[in-house]
Each structure stands twice: as structure tokens, then as C-alpha cells.
């Protein structure tokens, strides 16, 4: 495996050339139109896709995460380098990179070189989407592109129109589902905005933190960045504002799911298939039954123990007179012996 490793000498040379190209661009302010592509990421991805099949499933996710995070921290350093294009010194380039990062939290056009670093602040949102996907029939980010702002206001009014005619119940259900979907989308947008504004603050904090300390490695940069993000995150998510935002997001998802459920129940009911409500009733009744059975079992066990105890006591009680009788008999027998002895003596004396 190591023969075909992606970190061999050829790769090192290519990587050096890649960085030298950037370095030249800095020094000579060439202003190249198309930046070179980074061979490291490409090589690593090729290598991973080739060997992935040999890795046990338990380790695949773990290894992918290490590679993704590796990319994350090198991308930061790379962006700093790229920002140096046309700048006279690296510090100015760094300032430009941070400025670009801050800007990217306001708007993230598709070709934005800072998009990947700013996406770091989407991690909480991504985590949410994964979780929401696991609980939904649709992917967690399905609703991210739904209209909001002015368009949403118009749609709100439209969806508030009462249903008419024979299908009014059904219309109302679908309107309600649409409304819930839009409310959820709005809650997700608020949630994303919260992290976006936090991301902007984190770049300022990063600037402060690295102000005096020389940044000598990509790892140092990455660790400092993570530290800044965690520090700001911890401060902001303990607030009442965040708690409300968090509550709105979870509640909005639940309303959406429950609207889905109502429509699904309706369909199931028409096909004579047990609905969610039917199942809930069965679950509750089953637990009541189980509880009752356990209580009865416990009472039966207690009664059984009581009976066994009584039986044991009875045996002891019955055994006592019997033992007393036996003892009495033994005593009688013992007492009789001397008599025999006496009788024998008498017999002998009569001889």
C-alpha cells in the first residue's frame, strides 16, 4: 500500500512547486488569472477512493473525518497564501485573508475562495441537518432553498385562505403542511444567521489572538481558529436568545413532522392500515397490561413466598410435637433400661 502512497517524493516535489508558484506570485505580483490547483487534496482523495474498500466499516467514517479536518486546516493556511497574491508582505496578505473571511459571512458567492473556511461555522447547522434527515422522510436541507422574506409573506397570506368545497379538509391539511414547512425554513434561516454572525466575530477574535504570537504552522492556525470558535460559541449559546432560537428550530421541525403525520394518517386510514394514533393507543394499552401483569406476578410471588413460609412454619410446628413424642419415647426407653438392669440384678440375686 505504501508503494502507491500519495505522499511519496514525486508528490512532495509537485507540492513544493505548487507553493513556490504561489510564492513567486507574491514576490513578483504577477496577478495570475487562474490559480494552480492544490495537488495534495486531489492526491489524497484518489488514494482514499482506491483503498476505502479495504478499510473496515467501523473505521471508514472515522478516517474520512480525519481527512476532512486535515483539509480544513490546510485550507486555512492555503487561503492565507492565496490572499497574498499581489501583496508585498505576508502580514498584509493575512489581513486580506481575514477580511475576506469576514466578508464571506455576509455573502458567499460560489467562487469565493474563503467559502470553505467560513463553512466551518456551518458545522452546527450541518450537524442539525444530519439529525433532521435521520428523522425525516426528506433530506434535512431540502427546505433551505425555500422562499423567504417578502415572498414568504405573500405565501403566508395565500396559505391562510380557507379551503372551499368538497375537498376543503384536505386543502386545509396541505396548506397547513406548507405553512409548517415555511416556518421551519424560516427557523433554519434564523439559526444559520446566528452562526454566520458568530463566524464574523470569530475572525476578529482570531486576529486579536494571533496579533502577538507568530503563526508558524497550519496546525497552529487551525488550533487557534478552533479555540476562537469554541470560545465565542460557548458565550453565545448559553444566552436566552439562543435558547429561544434553538427551541423555535426544534419546535418548527416537530410541527412540520406532525403535519406530515396527519396527512399520512389520513391516507393510511383510507386503506384500512393502522395509523400512528392507533399504534399509540396500542402502545399505551400494552404497557398498562404489562404493568398489571408484573404487579400480579409480583403479588403471586409474594403470596408464594408467604405460603412457603407458612408451610415451613407448619412443618416446624408439626415437627415439634413429633419430636417431643420421640424424645418422650426415648426418655421412656432410657428409663426402662435400668429397670431391666434392676430386673437382671434381681434375677441374678434370686439365682
Amino acid at each position: 500500500m505504501t508503494k502507491n502512497a500519495f505522499w511519496n517524493d514525486d508528490w512532495m516535489n509537485t507540492q513544493r512547486q505548487y507553493w513556490e508558484q504561489w510564492n513567486n506570485m507574491q514576490q513578483q505580483a504577477l496577478g495570475v488569472k487562474q490559480p494552480p490547483t492544490n495537488p495534495w487534496e486531489q492526491s489524497m482523495e484518489h488514494w482514499w477512493s482506491a483503498i476505502q474498500g479495504a478499510v473496515p466499516s467501523t473505521g471508514q467514517d472515522f478516517f474520512s473525518k480525519m481527512m476532512d479536518q486535515g483539509k480544513n486546516y490546510f485550507q486555512m493556511a492555503e487561503q492565507a497564501m492565496q490572499a497574498a497574491n499581489g501583496q508585498e508582505n505576508i502580514s498584509d496578505a493575512w489581513a486580506k485573508m481575514l477580511h475576506g473571511l469576514t466578508e464571506s459571512f455576509h455573502q458567499t458567492p460560489s467562487n469565493d475562495p474563503f467559502k470553505k473556511a467560513s463553512a466551518f461555522w456551518e458545522m452546527p447547522m450541518d450537524n442539525w441537518n444530519r439529525m433532521a434527515s435521520a428523522m425525516s422522510p426528506v433530506p434535512g436541507d431540502t427546505l433551505r432553498g425555500m422562499p423567504h422574506g417578502d415572498v414568504k409573506e405573500h405565501l403566508d397570506r395565500l396559505l391562510g385562505t380557507p379551503g372551499l368545497g368538497y375537498t376543503r379538509e384536505s386543502q386545509t391539511q396541505y396548506q397547513s403542511l406548507m405553512q409548517a414547512a415555511m416556518d421551519y425554513q424560516e427557523a433554519m434561516a434564523e439559526y444559520a444567521l446566528f452562526f454566520s454572525s458568530m463566524g464574523e466575530k470569530s475572525t476578529k477574535l482570531l486576529q486579536q489572538k494571533i496579533g502577538d504570537t507568530p503563526v508558524e504552522s497550519a496546525r497552529h492556525l487551525y488550533d487557534t481558529w478552533v479555540g476562537c470558535c469554541e470560545e465565542l460559541y460557548a458565550e453565545d449559546v448559553i444566552t436566552e436568545d439562543y435558547a429561544k432560537l434553538h427551541g423555535r428550530l426544534v419546535n418548527a421541525l416537530m410541527v412540520l413532522k406532525s403535519r406530515y403525520g396527519e396527512i399520512l394518517n389520513e391516507s393510511l386510514s383510507t386503506m384500512n392500515i393502522p395509523t400512528h394514533d392507533d399504534l399509540r393507543t396500542v402502545q399505551i394499552r400494552m404497557q398498562e397490561q404489562r404493568r398489571e401483569n408484573k404487579k400480579l406476578n409480583s403479588e403471586v410471588a409474594a403470596l408464594r413466598r408467604e405460603i412457603m413460609k407458612m408451610q415451613a412454619e407448619k412443618k416446624t410446628t408439626d415437627a415439634k410435637p413429633a419430636a417431643a413424642r420421640t424424645k418422650a419415647k426415648k426418655v421412656t426407653k432410657k428409663k426402662a433400661a435400668p429397670r431391666k438392669k434392676k430386673a437382671a440384678v434381681a434375677k441374678r440375686s434370686t439365682k
Partner: protein, 355 residues
């Protein structure tokens, strides 16, 4: 002035170093094989529904010095093999070495048929029947109980209702005051409509709990941790230990809906345990009913159950024999760190054996 000194050649070298470690590490990962969980031999002594009560097998020739066995009541969240995660990091083994005869409740994985299980079912049902089973097996009227995290809260409720069956109570990283200012979990659930949540999804999926726990420190727990791991990838033992911990973190059973409803509403939202207003079945939980000796262990850097959430216990129990033990570590470190093996389990064993 920003002092930025990353040079292109240094950056290339750093990338190469990272890549080499990944490349070598992949072989250790392939060799890691199946990840085993729980290392100490044990015997299932009682089963009920999905619950299994285990008794840990003592090494041959080694007798428990404490006459009263110890029952570990773990949380419903995550799996109890955290207490026995690897040979040299096992709370169970430490307790056995300290002379205790150890039992543990494994709650299993609730499914939709367990949706309607209540806290009353768990505490006055399952826990009580396990205690009865152990008492009967040992010919005793009472045993020692060790509750962990949520299991600690359950143990407190149990002891307040069945004090006669608990000889000594140990609580580890156990929340009592659920509304301290530094409790992130508590802050986050205050505005969630729990009735809507449970009515809509029934049992609470493990994914939701994972998301919540990872959200406590998202950048470290879902990112930086993996970068740090690259540094130790060349050590097969460390790789295996890391994978074992990863398995545990994401091995989150679903939560029975009705129990979750009561636990979050009464404990987190109303903080009713502090107010003496929690109702379990027909009983109101009054911690003053706890009169047996209590050892309360908390972790000083615990971000799930902050120390302030645990320490109010001392002022609430009716016991004259209350002791606290502060461990300099986190919520997980209290079981798995090397220091915990040296300090926590021997301290529990000694405290129990004296009583």
C-alpha cells in the same frame, strides 16, 4: 501587526507529515478489526423485557470483602459499557479490586413497544425488582447502590422511596439542581415544547441526543478531535481505544417517549427535584427521606453535569453521613482516565467497605 510566518516549503512539509501519518495509520485501522465493548467477564442473572441484570465474575480465588453487593444503575442515555470500556480503564474492575461484588443494569435498546414506559416503571418497577433479586440471592434486606449521571438521579428517587433496601448510596456525576446558570443542556431545553416533541416522534431517537451532545462543543468534538487523532495513528493500541470510544459516543439508544417527557419537563424545565415536587407513581420524591450514608462524586470540568448541579445534594438529603468527592476531570474522564482508576474507584471501595 500580524506575525504570520508560514512559509510555502514549511507548509508543504507539514502536509507531507500529516499525509504520512494518515497513510501509516490506515494500516492500523484495517488491522483494528471488530471493536469489542465491555472487557470483564459477567453473567446474566436476571432478565425482564429488554433489561438484563449482570453480575461480574470475580477472578478465581478472590472474594468480595464487602458483604453487601453493589448495584450500578447507569443512565438510559448511551450504553453502560463505558464503565468497563477497556482492560486498563474499567470502573467495574476497579470496584471489584476494591472488594466489591458488582452488579450492573443494562437497559438495552428501547423500541416502539417501550414508548409508554414511565419513570415509575423504570424506578419502582425495573430497579426495584433488580434490587429484590439481589437481596434474595444474597439473603440480605438491603444492598449498596451506585447511580451514574441520569442513573444517579433515578437512584436518588429510588432511595427516597425505598430507603430500607439501600444500605449506602453512591452518586457519580449526578444532576440534582437542573437549572444552574452554566448548564447548557438545561438552557437549551427550556423553550422546547416537549409534549409536541414526544407526541410527534414517540421515542426520542438516539440521533437527536447525539446532535445535542455534539452541539455542546461542535468544533472540538466534530472536528479538532480527528486532527489530534492523526498524531497517535501509528499506535495500534491507541487507534483501537479511540475507535472504542467513538463507538460508545455514537451508540445512543432511543429514549422511551413517556420517560423522556417526564424527565425533561419535571427535572429540567421545572427543576422539581430541588423543590421536592417530583411525582413518581403515587409518591412525591423528598430527598430528605434519604437517611443512609451518601457519597456524591462529581467532576470539576464536567460540561454535561456541572459541579453546581451536583453539590446541592448535600443540603437536601436527610443523611448525617454525607461526603463529596471532587474529581479533577470531565464527565467521561471520571470513568476512563488513568487518574480515575487510581483515585475514584479505590475511594468508592474504601468508603463502602467502611460502612
Amino acid at each position: 501587526m500580524i506575525n504570520f510566518q508560514i512559509r510555502p516549503d514549511k507548509l508543504a512539509e507539514e502536509m507531507a507529515d500529516y499525509s504520512r501519518k494518515l497513510g501509516h495509520g490506515i494500516e492500523n485501522l484495517i488491522d483494528a478489526g471488530e471493536i469489542d465493548t465491555g472487557v470483564t467477564a459477567r453473567t446474566a442473572v436476571y432478565k425482564e423485557d429488554k433489561l438484563v441484570l449482570y453480575r461480574y465474575d470475580r477472578p478465581e480465588g478472590v472474594e468480595a470483602s464487602n458483604e453487601a453487593p453493589l448495584l450500578i444503575v447507569y443512565a438510559l442515555v448511551n450504553r453502560p459499557y463505558m464503565t468497563d470500556i477497556q482492560e486498563d480503564r474499567s470502573t467495574i474492575r476497579g470496584l471489584m479490586d476494591a472488594g466489591q461484588d458488582v452488579y450492573l443494569i443494562d437497559w438495552g435498546y428501547p423500541d416502539s413497544s417501550d414508548y409508554a414506559l414511565t419513570m415509575d416503571d423504570y424506578i419502582n418497577g425495573y430497579i426495584d425488582r433488580c434490587v429484590d433479586h439481589i437481596c434474595e440471592a444474597h439473603g440480605l434486606d438491603s444492598i449498596n447502590v451506585l447511580g451514574i449521571c441520569q442513573g444517579g438521579t433515578f437512584s436518588l428517587c429510588y432511595t427516597s422511596m425505598h430507603q430500607d433496601k439501600v444500605r449506602n448510596l453512591v452518586t457519580m456525576v449526578t444532576p440534582v439542581d437542573f437549572k444552574t446558570p452554566d448548564n447548557l443542556l438545561s438552557a437549551w431545553v427550556q423553550h422546547i415544547d416537549i409534549d409536541l416533541l414526544v407526541d410527534t416522534i414517540g421515542n426520542i431517537p438516539g440521533e437527536l441526543l447525539n446532535w445535542t451532545f455534539l452541539s455542546l462543543k461542535p468544533f472540538s468534538l466534530t472536528g479538532q478531535k480527528y486532527v489530534n487523532m492523526v498524531d497517535v495513528l501509528d499506535d495500534p493500541k491507541k487507534v483501537k481505544n479511540f475507535l472504542r470510544m467513538e463507538k460508545w459516543i455514537f451508540d445512543s439508544p432511543d429514549q422511551a417517549g413517556e420517560t423522556f417527557r417526564q424527565f425533561i419537563k419535571d427535572f429540567y424545565q421545572k427543576n422539581a427535584l430541588m423543590a421536592g415536587e417530583v411525582e413518581i407513581g403515587e409518591n412525591v420524591i423528598d430527598l430528605a427521606n434519604i437517611t443512609c450514608p451518601v457519597l456524591n462524586i462529581y467532576a470539576q470540568q464536567d460540561h454535561l453535569v456541572p459541579p453546581d448541579a451536583s453539590t446541592p445534594l448535600g443540603g437536601l438529603v436527610g443523611s448525617d453521613d454525607y461526603k463529596e468527592l471532587a474529581f479533577p476531570g470531565g464527565h467521561i474522564g471520571i470513568y476512563v482516565s488513568g487518574r480515575a482508576q487510581k483515585e475514584v474507584t479505590p475511594a468508592i471501595g474504601e468508603w463502602l467497605s467502611k460502612r
